[in-house]
Symmetry: C2
Subunit: 281 residues, 2 copies
Amino acid sequence: MIVITSPDEMTRFSSDALQRSERIGLVPTMGYLHDGHLTLMREGRRQCSILVASIFVNPTQFGPGEDFARYPRNFERDCAMLETVPVDVVFAPAPGAMYSLDAQTLVDAGDITIGLCGAHRPGHFRGVTTVVAKLFNIVKPHVAVFGEKDFQQLRAIQKMVRDLNFDVEIVPVPIVREKDGLAMSSRNAYLSAAEREDALALSLALRAAREKHRSGPCCAEEIVFAATRVLKRMKNVEIEYVEAVDAETLTRHPPLDRPILIAIAARVGKTRLIDNVVLEP
Amino acid sequence: MIVITSPDEMTRFSSDALQRSERIGLVPTMGYLHDGHLTLMREGRRQCSILVASIFVNPTQFGPGEDFARYPRNFERDCAMLETVPVDVVFAPAPGAMYSLDAQTLVDAGDITIGLCGAHRPGHFRGVTTVVAKLFNIVKPHVAVFGEKDFQQLRAIQKMVRDLNFDVEIVPVPIVREKDGLAMSSRNAYLSAAEREDALALSLALRAAREKHRSGPCCAEEIVFAATRVLKRMKNVEIEYVEAVDAETLTRHPPLDRPILIAIAARVGKTRLIDNVVLEP
């Protein structure tokens, strides 16, 4: 496994690999890896001859007052985990190597970024689509793997890829959960033992939504209500949103004959967590 | 010379060419070609083993009330001219093949697009950078050639390429002029014989600017004044702007120890024309 920190060097590596007819896979991450990330890596490994994992805590997708500075980092442990996959290349640029001081160009995927997390984190998805466009241009992957945990991010990137004709196949991978149901996230490291218990409310709320959905004909509002009730029971869980949207377009008032995304964002203590489930008709 | 109209087919062609280690050049145009375009083509031809000319009148870079519908088109004559270069591939997609009905993703190059033409054509440069990003992803060129006639467009594309790490070398080519000095442009076809005479005012104004600059120390305002005076003499020439800006950053109040861009936009009759010159310190 080699570590590359220079974008230009990464591009040279990939251009050479393409001339050798290698199939390049990219798994973009912000590091502090967990089993969810490793599942993405194994999917990339399965599909590609050269697997690149990027580790970059992207400053432009954090808003003022968000956790950019304290976002957890552990590069050596990350590398040890990536060796086990195995990954071929770790691309770990410094922020100054990714953004020149006068960088201004932005990629905006439009309406799909407006609701859900987009409504609560202004500029977040513009930061995401811009850095992913950069990573695609630097790494030149045939395939890029993204987790469904960040469902709106996945949809925004799929929209960007289609609209801008990126020649990259986006591979979604289902959420990986702890044994008790908590969706894996680097931000789970922020939780105290008590908060870790309270955080179960998110996956329990989604289970309640799924059960409501399975129990017979009901409207989106009833499903949202079932999930919200579970969250409201917990004193230390502050709901940011609970929404039912069309799983493709992320628009409200989803038709019930198509897959519906139930998405939750909530604060447990000071930690913002998200989780979701797709309910098939 | 082959003609490709499908973006997917163009991408397959380019992917194959890259595996054969070809060097791909792209010259994006809106068609209705003239000798200025052919100069760009010859530069691309000199540098590349596969030369792609795109012909696409891009609807998203025209504002409401602009000349998208009546923009001159002559695909057969264009192809005959491209054969003489020779060009290897004409990429001529239909608008519906380039933009799906729900396309929304935009690429915005920031401050460099605000002044000059950007101030008079809102959204124009966003349309340009978005379609050029798409063309780069579809054609995968090593080299792309742009004329200095559209100087702000050139700078916006260079900014996008740097900021988004496109692995494309941008090659600028100087303005090609008619014998009497008029900058070549597809829009010159709109001019009546009398307007064609009046249109000379733009290049004459730039000549006056250059002479003022050469004549000894003077500030940017004096250079702009010299150019403006020439334009104001003509009854059928309506000035949109005459500006002196830093030739790299396109910012106002340019330091005189760096190259200065003198840029003009004016209407001759109903036809909007632009022209420019770079004055070296």
